[in-house]
């Protein structure tokens, strides 16, 4: 038997999941079409979308895990390096309050410097940027799943609500501009009246 790579296994399960989701959808949609205004009908017709999103979440999680591992690897490597420096600078166990204070100061200064250097580095910034980006993609899939559920209940999706927010924002801007114009006209008129009175 040929050994299969993790990618082959993932592709197999992806195909298996989509196959059964499609088949069940096709089999189920006909009798459910009888109750075409019910929320379950809408939910059934969108079930494939949810399945696809879940598969993509799974793929994203694999990427996310790689990035989060690298993130903690960078943190732990910096910790080890900083601790080595502390050990070199303060090899003895502190025995009195003064020594304890000095030891703590050395420890904090070295750790703060090393971690600041890490957070300031290109390698950290790059990995961190990708990690946040992957988290956002996961959020997007979750949003997409939520949208399917909202639509199946005849509720507006996030995009539709955003459209409303955008429209309100544009309207507010227009109203503000009109108010400013109106104020200018009123001011000009009252100035004109004062001049005429004079």
């Amino acid at each position: 038997m040929e050994s299969q790579s993790p990618k082959d296994i993932t592709d197999y399960y992806k195909h298996l999941s989509l196959f059964w989701t499609d088949i069940i959808h096709l089999m189920a949609s006909k009798p459910q079409a009888l109750t075409s205004i019910g929320p379950m009908r809408a939910f059934a017709s969108n079930s494939k979308k949810i399945s696809t999103e879940l598969i993509q979440i799974n793929e994203n999680l694999m990427e996310f895990n790689k990035l989060v591992t690298e993130y903690y690897k960078q943190l732990s490597e910096t910790w080890s390096e900083a601790q080595k420096k502390v050990n070199l600078k303060a090899p003895d166990v502190p025995h009195d309050t003064e020594q304890m204070e000095s030891f703590k100061r050395i420890w904090i200064d070295i750790f703060d410097n090393d971690y600041t250097e890490l957070f300031d580095s290109e390698k950290f910034g790059e990995n961190y940027g990708k990690l946040v980006s992957k988290e956002l993609e996961l959020t997007k899939h979750w949003n997409n799943i939520s949208n399917v559920i909202l639509q199946s209940a005849n509720l507006p999706s996030k995009e539709e609500i955003d459209e409303v927010y955008k429209e309100i924002h544009a309207l507010k801007k227009r109203v503000t501009k009109l108010e400013i114009e109106l104020k200018k006209k009123r001011d000009a008129k009252s100035e004109g009246n004062i001049k005429n009175e004079k």
Partner: protein
Amino acid sequence: MKSESKFDPKLIEDMIKFGKNIMDAPKLVSAPDEINLEVTPHDIVQEIDKTRLLHYRTLTEKQYKTPLLISYALINRYHILDIQPEKSWVRNLLLQGFDVYMLDWGTPTSMDKYLDFDDYVNGYLDSSVEFIKDETSTEKISVQGYCTGATIATAYTSLHPESVKNYIATAPVIDGWRDTTVISNLAKHMDVDKMVEIIGNMPPEFMYYCFSVLKPFEQGIEKYVNFFKNIENKKFVDNFLRVEKWLGDTPPIPGELFRQWIKDIYQDNLLIQNKMYVGGSHIDLKKIDMPLFTQVAVGDHLVSPECSMPLHYAVGSEDKTLKMYPTGHVGMIASSLSQNKVLPELGKWLAERS
């Protein structure tokens, strides 16, 4: 083999005392939630959307004619400028005879995700300036911007120089490429388009992360150790809790505003290159021709001096002053140094021009 115990009994005593302090803390100090951060009496004179314009009640018989409007940062809230009577920036200015207003940006919600630089500069800030001009019958007022509030105020003074008599930029975020802080590194690697598209407003949790990477051990461990060590020092504890409460209270930043701020300031650095546009209008720093007072903290790990100082050299003003102080971002505005040096110097400069 003879065992040697070299531990100083004082060390053990200190550790026991430290443990006792932790146990006693809830009996000795208020919970942060019980602390009221509104210190100096004020009136809310204008409200637009979620923003509020605060007017502080005068503390002197005579006042300078030109009022001062403070444009606070977008991160955390304005309370740090009035954190407690002895360290209050606002109170100090009032006692020097200035008429002080503060713009509170409020707490944006999901509905505000489309608010952008234009809304903040030509909307909220401009409306506040116009209100103060009407209210005080003055043609020009003094404007102070702090941190990111100074980025907004800088854009405003460039677009509306006819309304600004004096401009004070305190730790302004101006030249993103020169900024050497950790925040700048994170901002440069951020896919801000994706962030705004997917989550809308910049959530406070993300801000807390960004702050937590700044001096993580000093800020994350040492300051709490000091808090418990000093639990019986009422003054220390009160100040600590006030600052902690302020630090833990940051509103979200509207998505579109955040997008433009990260792209134009940190990623493309348009402001200092005179290439930035707000609401379709070009921001030309040379148009800032009124007296300018720039305040920079040498130990600022949020906005590095290299990021702030270029403003002094980029403006068109002939009457300009650059002051550097041996302190940090918060130390410049809420410390004994700010009370004894930063504010008296600012007051003297402003009084001569008000």
